[in-house]
């Protein structure tokens, strides 16, 4: 979105301000002429009501417009982050920062900065135009202060922007350090390093504070420019008008000036600068919004609806998986190269310690993370069809729906008989018996389900999908010994009818695989 049209209603604010100023000017003139001030009091009141109305209008209209735009971003980002192919794996927290916090920043930018920018473009000139109706000399004076103001803002503004960017970087780095040390307090206490690390934190925070003060000077200078010109505008208008009314100008006044006209110009003078102040107040939202857009840019593919459910192409049946030189790389971390093959039936284990990239490798094979090099093919050498891949997760997705619907997420047409058969096979029948069958309502937290039961729902879902290649992520992790043994037996059984690629650091499970690929 380039603009937020609600900003146009700030024009009403200027009209209201003019009415209010006219009320002031007329009221004071009426006092001078010993007339009643009543009509002017009415003008003051109606000017204020008009201004209040315009503020209300902008605040009522701007947010829905900003939200409409932000929701487009949100939908695209969420669709891509949840279903698209990424360049690197993201933690759920990082994903939420993008989809929730950054979109929030875009909304704030749309609701606060964009309307203010519209009014900053037309507002000053509109206010000067209204002043010209009373005194064109005053209008000229204000126009005259506006030009050096804009030049000053450009210089001070550029310096301020650079300064505040540096400040933002320093503060981000500092809060990164602070958060890191806070998170690792148990580790720090364990090594009795409290005092040393506390000293380090103290010197880092004070260092950043001092540097920040230095860069803030430049930022405040641009505000000072704004203040100075708006103050000087009032002063110049007051002095010119005063001397003109006294008849003390060293030249003949080029226009007939009355107290009412002069007072109107004086009262309106601050309004010329008000839109720019409003804009300056939204500077933070501008910065955050632009940073958010830049951060989201890599995740907004030009192609619409990434990874929409693919049309069931007349796919060739799955005959096996071939992974050739698969390499994943991000930051300075490299996983692979991996080369292995898996037939249409069988079990291959992917092993390695926590953090070695097992899940990322599975995700790359599923086409969810772009590899740095290598190929993922079927046994005939054609690209692997994503519709052949089922995924049994460590912590499976649960949607607020019935158990039936949750098991059949990947096979919406499945009959109850088929669902019950699969549920029995993965060992869910105790849950079914205990909790009232397939109609069991599940909330989004999966309340009442143990980790093991949840894992089994994921397995049932993968089996029911009928997809011939199953990727299993840590199927036995955190399970009690009996459950782990049951799941291991089930996986062995499944391996005789389909292809299983299992990421695990469970030695008994890895021992059953035809091949173990260590990362």
């Amino acid at each position: 979105m380039k603009s937020n049209k609600a900003g146009h209603f700030w024009a009403l604010d200027i009209v209201g301000a003019a009415l209010f100023s006219a009320g002031l000017a007329g009221g004071v003139s009426a006092l001078v002429a010993h007339q009643t001030t009543l009509p002017w009091l009415a003008a003051l009141a109606s000017g204020a009501v008009l201004r209040a109305g315009s503020v209300g209008l902008v605040h009522t209209l701007a947010m829905p417009i900003a939200q409409r735009d932000a929701n487009v971003w949100r939908t695209n980002i969420m669709a891509h982050l949840l279903g698209g192919r990424l360049d690197r794996p993201l933690t759920a927290g990082a994903s939420a920062a993008l989809a929730v916090d950054h979109v929030h920043a875009i909304e704030e930018h749309g609701a606060r900065f964009l309307p203010a920018r519209i009014s900053a473009v037309f507002g000053p000139l509109f206010a000067i135009g209204l002043i010209a109706l009373a005194s064109w000399v005053c209008a000229l004076i204000l126009l005259g202060t506006l030009i050096p103001f804009i030049i000053g803002m450009i210089f001070a503004g550029t310096a301020a922007r650079r300064a505040s960017e540096r400040q933002l970087e320093a503060l981000t780095a500092l809060s990164g350090l602070f958060v890191d040390r806070i998170r690792h307090l148990p580790l720090i206490r364990h090594f009795a390093a409290q005092e040393r690390i506390a000293r380090q934190v103290e010197s880092a925070t004070h260092d950043v504070a001092q540097r920040t003060v230095a860069v803030l000077r430049a930022a405040f200078l641009s505000s000072a420019v704004l203040e100075f010109f708006s103050a000087i505008a009032v002063a110049l208008v007051a002095v010119y008008c005063g001397f003109a009314l006294l008849g003390l100008l060293p030249f003949t006044p080029p226009e007939p000036l009355t107290l009412a006209r002069a007072f109107f110009a004086l009262a309106m003078a601050p309004e010329v600068y008000l839109p720019m102040r409003r804009l300056a107040a939204a500077y933070h939202e501008k910065q955050m919004g632009e940073a958010a857009k830049a951060a989201l840019e890599p995740y907004t593919p030009t192609a619409p609806a990434p990874n929409a459910p693919e049309a069931p192409a007349p796919a060739a049946p799955f005959t096996g998986l071939r992974v050739e030189g698969l390499t994943l790389a991000w930051d300075a971390l490299t996983i692979g190269p991996l080369t292995f093959a898996l037939d249409a039936q069988g079990l291959v284990a992917l092993t390695g310690p926590t953090g070695s990239g097992k899940t990322s490798t599975l995700a790359a094979i599923a086409g969810q993370i772009a590899p740095a090099a290598g190929a993922i093919l079927d046994s005939r050498g054609a690209p692997l069809d994503p519709a052949h891949i089922a995924w049994a997760a460590q912590r499976p997705l649960l949607l607020p729906a019935t158990l039936r619907e949750n098991i059949a997420l990947a096979a919406p047409g499945a009959t109850d008989a088929a669902i019950l058969a699969v549920a029995a096979r993965v060992g869910l029948d105790p849950v079914l018996a205990r909790r009232g069958g397939l109609d069991l309502a599940i909330d989004h937290r999966g309340s009442g389900l143990s980790g093991g039961e949840r894992r089994r729902i994921g397995l049932a879902r993968a089996i029911l999908s009928g997809r011939p290649l199953m990727l299993c992520d840590e199927p036995t992790a955190d399970l009690d010994a009996a459950s782990a043994a049951q799941i291991t037996a089930l996986l062995c059984d499944l391996a005789s009818e389909r292809a299983l690629l299992v990421a695990t650091h469970d030695a008994p499970l890895a021992a059953l695989a035809q091949q173990e690929i260590a990362l």
């Binding site: 503020v55 947010m63 806070i182």
Partner: protein, 540 residues
């Protein structure tokens, strides 16, 4: 917010940070600047109006009146005020931010020192991202409060000056204006709370709900992508999104309503002053413009009021953390524990013993290691000398044990930073020796920046197994009597594993350190002399 509404027992944020002399001076100067800026703005408008009107009256009255009208002083005052206001505002901003930034640096370091003193077994857990992010947010809210502090005296000065100038137009005028100004902050505060409390709360709730639901979805990303469930999931998230949007739109409208109220109130003040002014038009002009400026000045107070609810919330949480006392040790710290016997259940081990904890996966071996390391409380029948584990304070445990944990936590910073965590005054030779035992010296020597290589978020460029060995080297460097190792060779190839076990054996021999090992791989188990079955220690 006004100072009166604060409960007397509550410490102000400035008291919380115990300002240093320099900080107090900064804040005082900032406050003076704020007052100068507020008065400068008010007098600039007021005197301009008075000058204009007086000039018009004198101009209309003829030559003699013009001669009698002193225009030099007001016109010079106007120019002076324009400059004063600018400079004072700049000073206020700079000084208040300086004070706030210094204060925040103090809060951060004090808070950190306070938290670091705690016993991990009873301290608030801040290891999750959510908790530490909230802490940062709380501190930022506090910063905002310090920055705004000088505005309060500035606003009050503007209000008083406004009333004083209105008094020139008669006592009635001053009285009504004083009443209006006195009511204004309370009315604004009350309306702000009334209009924003519910939507602000609702928006925060909705945001939390959306975030937690989205995090659930993001954790299940693999399934969503594999089965093409994106539209279904977006439908699911549409409800919390709609709730959030509605609450935020309402909050934004409330903000607009508050701004509108200020505008109307300012106009009301001007109307009342105009209607009651009784000492001539010039002084009336002065009073009206001063009244408007005073209301505008007081509105700065309201901006603080607007955020007060969330600031209060932050303050409360920070005060709770700052109020934490260091836990008193159950008994005086015993420096001779290092020579004591380690009792694991019925078995007793002298210093330098090498023990393996055995048992099936998930039976609690890691939990016992963490309990020994002081990272979690445990009722396991473990004693050190005559003292039960729970009675040992963390300082005692950390003087006895050095843990290399299964998940190998690393600090953000360089490799050397991570090693230095273990002990004061470590030199490069010591680090290289420890890295050699951990079979990581050659790998690190090949890195372009060697020991100074900065580790990224996932410990990159080190792989999972390398992180593990770095954490092992760190535990070796701690030089404690007992080494606690959790799966030290997981994910290593056979050759490296053999080398590491051999070097570790030499190291244990050389230093005489004891070892408590958890490993499901057979090779490291050759290091130990005794085995303890986990089910004698833990009942699940």
């Amino acid at each position: 917010m006004s100072p009166q509404t604060r409960a007397p027992a509550r410490l102000t944020p400035i008291e919380m940070v115990r300002p240093t002399g320099a900080l107090r001076a900064s804040l005082r100067a900032g406050t003076l600047s704020a007052i100068a800026a507020a008065l400068g703005g008010l007098f600039l408008l007021g005197i301009s109006g008075w000058f204009l009107t007086g000039a018009a009256v004198a101009g209309a009255a003829g030559f003699a009146a013009v001669q009698a009208f002193n225009y030099l002083i007001p016109s010079a005052a106007i120019r002076l005020l324009a400059i004063t206001r600018t400079v004072a505002r700049y000073g206020e901003r700079l000084l208040s931010h300086k004070a706030a930034l210094t204060a925040m640096a103090d809060v951060r370091s004090r808070l950190f020192a306070r938290l670091a003193m705690q016993d991990t077994r009873s301290a608030p857990n801040l290891s999750a991202g959510e908790a530490s992010a909230r802490l940062i947010g709380d501190i930022d809210a506090l910063e905002d409060l310090v920055v705004r502090q000088p505005t309060r005296p500035g606003s009050l000065a503007a209000a008083l000056a406004g009333v004083a100038l209105a008094a020139l137009s008669g006592w009635l005028c001053a009285l009504v204006l004083a009443l209006l100004l006195a009511v204004f902050p309370f009315a604004l505060g009350a309306l702000s709370r009334r209009w924003t409390r519910t939507p602000a709360h609702e928006a925060a709730e909705a945001l939390g709900d959306l975030r937690s639901r989205y995090v659930d979805m993001a954790q299940a990303r693999a399934e969503i992508a594999a089965y093409g469930l994106v539209p279904r999931v977006l439908d699911e998230l549409a409800l919390p999104v709609a709730r959030l949007d509605a609450a935020r739109a309402r909050l934004f409208r409330a903000e607009g309503a508050i701004a509108a109220f200020q505008l109307v109130y300012g106009a009301l003040a001007a109307i009342v002053v105009l209607a009651t002014a009784s000492r001539g038009p010039a002084l009336a002009a002065l009073a009206i413009l001063a009244a408007s400026a005073a209301v505008e000045g007081l509105a700065a107070l309201a901006r603080t009021a607007f955020r007060q609810a969330s600031v209060d919330e932050s303050l409360r949480r920070l005060e709770d953390l700052l109020a934490l006392d260091a836990p008193a040790p159950a008994a005086p710290i015993d420096v001779n524990l290092s020579a004591s016997t380690l009792h694991l259940g019925a078995q007793a081990f002298g210093p330098g013993a090498r023990i393996a904890l055995t048992g099936p996966s998930g039976s609690g071996k890691t939990i016992v290691l963490e309990a020994l390391a002081g990272l979690r409380s445990s009722a396991a029948p473990i004693r050190i000398g005559e003292r039960a584990l729970a009675q040992c304070c963390e300082a005692e445990l950390s003087a006895l044990f050095a843990l290399s944990a299964q998940d190998a936590p690393l600090l953000a910073g360089s490799i050397a930073d991570n090693l230095r965590l273990a002990h004061t005054g470590l030199d490069e030779t010591a680090m290289r020796t420890a890295l050699h035992v951990a079979c990581l010296d050659e790998r690190i020597a090949r890195l372009p920046h060697g020991l100074d290589t900065r580790l990224g978020e996932d410990g990159a460029p080190l792989s999972g197994g390398e992180r593990k060995r770095l954490s092992l080297a760190r535990a070796l460097l701690a030089g404690r009597p007992w080494l606690l190792l959790d799966e030290p060779t997981e994910g290593l190839d056979a050759a490296t594993e053999a080398r590491l076990v051999e070097r570790l054996g030499d190291w244990l021999e050389r230093t005489g350190s004891g070892l408590v090992l958890v490993s499901h791989r057979p090779h490291p188990l050759t290091l130990v002399h005794a085995r303890v079955a986990i089910d004698t220690l833990v009942t699940l």
